[in-house]
């Protein structure tokens, strides 16, 4: 951000020279300084009826509310990418020596997730396998696995269904946003 220039001295003074002024940290993070500093609430809005007992949050509920508010700001795909980060960091920290996924593998998965609606993404298990990323969704007898590869290779989506007493049905195809969404909708159908 370029420094804010303020000149307030009288004419002829050396203090006419511009002086860079550092903003407080909170203001430095503002995307624009044109926003109103004080939000005007309409006076006729009353959230608690007159005379009603005001709710007093306990510490637990207060922090839970804060965590909930923080969580709700992240989209499902952000949470999945966070889980991938955690898995990759964990793999890097482990002593097993298994190669961790390349940035290209992570980027390929992120690119796919970015265009699939949050509503079908759910909460997959995230696991790594010798440099591959595996996201697995399970519902009842159906499973969908998205595999991302470290080599320059398009991700694959695998589907599996096991009906009791019958052979399993399964298939694997190249993962595109359309095919991934199709199989995730199939999973939840």
């Amino acid at each position: 951000m370029s420094p804010l220039i303020i000149g307030t001295a009288s004419q002829g003074s050396d203090m006419w020279n511009p002086v860079p002024v550092s903003l407080p940290i909170s203001l430095q993070n503002c995307p624009t300084l044109e926003m109103e500093a004080i939000v005007q609430y309409p006076l006729d809005v009353q959230t608690t009826p007159a005379g009603a007992e005001l709710p007093v949050p306990t510490n637990d509920s207060f922090f839970r509310d804060l965590q909930g508010a923080s969580k709700s700001q992240k989209s499902t795909k952000d949470l999945i990418l966070d889980a991938i980060d955690v898995a990759v960091d964990g793999a890097a920290a482990s002593s097993e020596g298994s190669p961790k996924p390349s940035n290209a593998a992570i980027a390929a998965i992120a690119k796919l997730l970015a265009v699939v609606p949050d509503s079908v993404l759910g909460e997959p298990d995230v696991d790594l396998y010798y440099g591959e990323i595996h996201l697995e969704w399970v519902r009842d007898t159906r499973r969908v696995v998205l595999m991302g590869f470290s080599k320059d290779k398009q991700p694959l989506v695998h589907n599996y269904e096991k009906a009791k007493g019958k052979p399993s049905k399964h298939g694997t195809e190249k993962a595109t946003a359309i095919s991934l969404e199709k199989w995730l909708r199939w999973l939840n159908a």
């Binding site: 696991d127 697995e136 595999m147 590869f149 399964h170």
Partner: protein, 134 residues
């Protein structure tokens, strides 16, 4: 007998339970076993099993996360060409043969993954043994 023909003499009886050690946490997630517990790794040709949890742990020094318990009859009933055979040198140890290798070519993943999922589907989780029992 050619090397690639299973030795039927050493087949484990159908009514025998066998145990697969879970050596990675990702093999058991959210209360269920995953296909990853039944994928061949690296140069593996078979999966090691024990006829008891204790026998399955023999020779392992790494951290483990419980066991997958399978009934041999269920493995054979999958009709995927899988056989459970006793190890010749240890009557309490067995091996699961017939799993397809995990292919280098990712496009060939479908069948190995489906068989691994079939095995996960017929398995039951057994928690890790208490430290005194190992």
């Amino acid at each position: 007998m050619p090397d690639d023909v299973p030795n039927l003499v050493n087949l484990v009886p159908d009514d025998q339970l066998v145990f697969r050690v879970l050596t990675l946490p990702g093999w058991y997630r959210r209360g269920r076993l995953t296909y990853r517990a039944f994928v061949l790794r690296g140069d593996e040709e078979e999966i090691s099993l024990g006829l008891s949890p204790e026998a399955a742990l023999e020779g392992l020094n790494e951290q483990t996360y419980g066991f997958a318990r399978l009934l041999v009859r269920d493995v054979h009933a999958l009709d995927k060409g899988l056989t459970v055979r006793l190890k010749p040198d240890n009557p309490m140890r067995a091996e699961l043969w017939g799993l397809p290798p995990w292919p280098e070519d990712e496009d060939q993943r479908d069948i190995p993954m489906a068989i691994a999922e079939d095995l996960a589907d017929i398995s039951e989780f057994v928690p890790p043994l208490p430290p005194g029992n190992i």
